[in-house]
Every structure is written in structure tokens, then in C-alpha cells.
Amino acid sequence: MSEIAAVITGPSGQSPARQAAARAAKREERVAWQLAAPAIMLILLLVLLPTLAVFVFSLTNYELGYDDFQFIGFENYAELFGDRTFLISLKNTTLYTAIVAPLSVLIGLGVALLIESETRGRAFFRTAYFLPVASLLVAMATVFQYLLHPTIGPVNAILSMLGIAGPNWLGSSSTVLISLAIIGVWQSVGFNMVLFLAGLTAIPRELYAAAQVDGAKSSWERFRLVTWPMLGPTTLFVTTISIINAVKVFETVKTLTEGGPNKSSEVLLWTIYQEGFVYLRVGYASAMTVIFLAVLIVLMILQYRVVDRKVHYA
């Protein structure tokens, strides 16, 4: 609209047409505000305000049920780093992430490569590996509880047929984190696989032909010289999401172990849930939440950094 007005009157004239255009622009701005207002209000109310409130709560000794509270500075944070449960929780979350993220990325990549190079049963395999992503995790966790049951579970029944005495998977502190990690990997491979499949179809076929001409004979060479570098951005992306999702582990812990036995499956969100919503120590749990949020943000920043530096091919 304003371009038309400019053509008619020239750049500096304050003709009626230009005034009309200015009025139209003003009206458009007003309409835009009206359309965006509900969203802006809800973002403030449901995202920004609560995030700020968490920071403020984390500096107080607020407990739900007691109306008065004091600002205690960084005491909650100081307490956190002497809190055995919280430290165990950090350690377990790190360990869980260190198992689940690499395995689900590697298996996801492996399955995607196999499906991509196999013409038979493609649709079936894609469905089979993706099914866990579309399933209710709490429900499937209870299925795993049965599968991993120490006495009546099929997994240990199969192991005993092979002459191996199966462990008490979810009931023993030495295997519980691994059992949860197995479920975590099972649940997330399909998601990573689909992202890798999308990344693979985006690689131009000619590159493989060119690599072959240049002497890349084996499929391993072609993978090393073409597929792996071309998948760089996808891999980074999938890795970041896998790490973030692993840090957020909660459903399986709540359903299967409630942090036990003996705090050996105590993870970050479970500890926050216990402190904040069961013991109602809002101030203390808020300090934990701030740490949790900081971890997520650092992971994001790391991802952006690497994207900027390394994985550009344009």
C-alpha cells in the first residue's frame, strides 16, 4: 500500500494519499497488536512470570502452607551443594544421560543407515522402530516392569535358559540405572532414526558417485568421506535433543522405582518433584529448578556455538 502512495506523490510530499497510507499503516499496527495481545499476555503470565518467580523463590525459605517467608540470599544454593540426595541426583542424571544419549544416537544412526540401504520391508521397519515413540511411556514402563521382573519376567526366564542367573533388574541398586537406561534407549531410538533418515535423503546421490570415482571403494570409505560429514548438522541436532531428553528423565523413574532402591535411581526431576510437590519446600526446590534450567540453557548455547563454528557447508 505505501509503495503505491510513494509512487503517486513522490518521496517527500504530504499529499492526502500519503496521509491515508500512514493512517492505514497505523490501523494495521493496531490490528496486529489486537491479534497478538492474547498470546503476549499468556506468554508473560505462563512463561516469563513463573520463570522469574522461580528465581525469586529460590532466594527465600518459602514453604507451602506457611504464609510468611524470608529472603535468605543464596543459602538454598549453599545447602544444595552439601545435600547428599541432590549430589547423588546430579551424579545419577549425568550417568543416565551418558548411557542413553550416545546409545540412542548411535543405534538411531545405525538403524537409519540399514533401512536406507535396504529396499525390502522399509515401511515395516520404520514403523516397528518408531512405535515406542508413539506409545504411552508410563504404560510401556509397566510392561517393562513385567519383562524385567526377577522371578516371573520373560527376560530372566530367557537368561536362565542360557544358564545365566539374571539380576534383579529394577530392584537392585547396581542394575537399576542400567535398566532405566535400556528403557530410555528403547523409547528414543525411533525418534532419532527418523531425523537421521530425513538427513540421509538430503545427501545428493552424485557425491557418492564422485567419491567412488575418487577411489572410495568400500562402503565404509563412502560412509567416512560422504555420509558422516554430510550428516554433521543432523548428528549435532539429534545429539543435543537426546541429551536434553535424557536430562529430563522422569516418567520411568516415577512409574518403576521412585528413586530407589536406596536413592540409586534418584534423578534431577524426581528430586525436584519430591522436594517441591511432596515436601512442599518451594524455596529449596526452586533453587534446584534454577540449576536444572541452567543445565538446559548451557546445553542449548553449546549447540548454537558448535553450529556456528563447525558444521557449515554452505
Binding site: 496486529a32 498470546a39 506468554i43 512470570l49 522461580v54 512405535l131 508413539a134 511411556l137 531410538v189 529448578t289
Partner: protein
């Protein structure tokens, strides 16, 4: 054909994929098998998949009689529908204003959206819980859905989609004298259908499966969503009637899995959108 010629790279690949698929599908196979077995059989022979004595109806009967299963399913559907409806009604006009109108605050809005993408429900849960508690609104459909009424991710997604839409479409509608609100509802929404369905699947899958928030705000079975109801059921059954438990599991898993099998491509598109959310 000799045995050796069977071991080609192709067959090896197929064998590997099949073995993996079997491992990935095993929980479903045992879920179905166990849901159809009687209690005695579950305790005696866990490796035979085909039940000697069919107890599927008996187990389903237990699942439906000991927890209000229909109520749980209704709660799940109602909460997901409510969340999705409000999210779309709020996000689409906002995304349209940012993408297609002269809107000086669009840049600031974009920053808000990007910030919002960083913050998961786990971070905002405490203050929202305190507010709902103070106003006595816990244990309600409102408490279950309100924190999700705004989806910054939805705004982000629709914004990308609208930017790619031709301006001519909107100019033509304006020349016809349509108001901006009418343009959104009668020109933009019908043309944004692929984005809306993808977002619908993303949103419904996320909230149908969510346990964290329902666990926090709901304590009664009357308002429980399927994942929470399943936990209540297990607690009530002392957790060792696996036949009934698997039957209940089957019932709550089936709706989404059936929808997924019916519309696979759309589902995979919709769920992998979470990838963008990071």
C-alpha cells in the same frame, strides 16, 4: 543354493534389522500375550506366548471395573482437545500478525518466543502450582490444561508456515473488503491445514503421554488422565495382577498407537516437530 551364499551383505542387513525390530516389538508382543493370560499362567510359564486358557475378557473386565477406565479416557481426550483448541486459537492470530502485518513489535515478540522455547514446564511448574493452590483450583480440568494454553512452539511453527504463504492471497482478500480477523479465519486457517494437523499430532501426543503435570495437580481419579490413572490402578492392585495391569496398559496405549498406524506419515512428521523445539 549353498549355505554360504545365503550370508550376503544384503541378507545380513535384513537379519540385523529383523532382529532389532523383534527386540523393539517384544514389549508389545508380551503386553498382548500377558493381557490374555490368567493369573496362574503368568506365574507358571512366562515364555509361552500363546495362552492355554483365554482370560483377555476377564482381565479387561477387571481393568474397566476397578478403575473408571472410560472416565480416564474421557479425561485424556477432553484435556488434550481443550489444550489443542486454545493453543491454536491463541497462536494462529499472533503468528499471522508477526508474519504478515506491519508490526513493529514483531522483533521483540520473536525474542519472547525464542526465550519461551528454552523453558520447559518443569521449570515453571512450582510457581504455577503455588498459584493454583492459592486459588483453590487444583484437581480440575482447568489446572490440567491452563499451563499449556500458550504454545510458543506453536507460534514459531505457524510463523514459519505463514511466512512462506504468498502475500497475493491476503491482498486479494483485503481488496474484497475482508477484515483482518476474517482473513485469519477464512483465508489463513484453511490454507494452513498441513501445519495445523502436524501441530495437532505434536500437541496431542505430548499431552496424552504427559505424567509430570497431571501427577502434580490431580489427586483424584475423577480428573486423572490415562497415565496417572494407570499409576492409581497399579497402586490399588498392589502391582502383581499383571494380567489385569497389561489389559489396562493395552487400553490406554491403543488409541494413539491405532491412530499412529492409521496415519503414519503424518504422525512421524508431527512428532519429529519436537525436534525443532530442542
Amino acid at each position: 543354493m549353498s549355505l554360504l551364499s545365503l550370508i550376503s551383505p544384503r541378507n545380513l542387513r535384513l537379519a540385523l534389522l529383523s532382529l532389532g525390530a523383534l527386540v523393539f516389538l517384544a514389549p508389545y508382543i508380551w503386553m498382548l500375550s500377558t493381557a490374555a493370560k490368567s493369573r496362574e499362567e503368568i506365574f507358571s510359564s512366562s515364555l509361552s506366548l500363546w495362552p492355554h486358557h483365554w482370560a483377555l475378557w476377564e482381565n479387561l473386565g477387571k481393568a474397566f471395573s476397578r478403575v473408571p477406565m472410560l472416565q480416564l479416557l474421557f479425561n485424556g481426550v477432553f484435556v488434550c482437545a481443550l489444550i489443542f483448541f486454545v493453543q491454536v486459537v491463541i497462536a494462529i492470530p499472533c503468528a499471522y500478525a508477526m508474519a504478515k502485518l506491519k508490526f513493529r513489535a514483531a522483533q521483540t515478540m520473536m525474542t519472547l518466543v525464542m526465550l519461551g522455547l528454552l523453558v520447559p514446564i518443569h521449570a515453571t511448574a512450582l510457581p504455577i502450582y503455588v498459584a493454583l493452590n492459592k486459588t483453590g483450583m487444583l484437581n480440575s480440568y482447568f489446572a490440567l490444561s491452563a499451563p499449556f494454553f500458550i504454545s510458543v512452539f506453536g507460534i514459531f511453527l505457524f510463523l514459519q508456515f505463514f511466512r512462506a504463504m504468498p502475500d497475493d492471497l491476503i491482498s486479494a482478500a483485503r481488496l474484497d473488503g475482508m477484515s483482518e480477523a476474517a482473513i485469519v479465519s477464512r483465508v489463513i486457517v484453511p490454507n494452513a491445514w498441513p501445519a495445523v494437523t502436524a501441530f495437532a499430532i505434536f500437541s496431542v501426543v505430548a499431552h496424552w503421554n504427559d505424567l509430570f503435570w497431571p501427577l502434580i495437580v490431580v489427586t483424584s481419579t475423577e480428573r486423572a488422565t490415562p497415565p496417572l490413572g494407570l499409576l492409581f490402578f497399579r497402586a490399588a492392585e498392589a502391582g502383581d495382577d499383571y494380567g489385569a495391569l497389561m489389559a489396562a496398559t493395552l487400553v490406554v496405549t491403543l488409541p494413539l498407537v491405532a491412530a499412529f498406524l492409521a496415519a503414519q506419515r503424518r504422525f512421524i512428521e508431527g512428532i519429529t516437530l519436537t525436534g525443532l523445539k530442542g
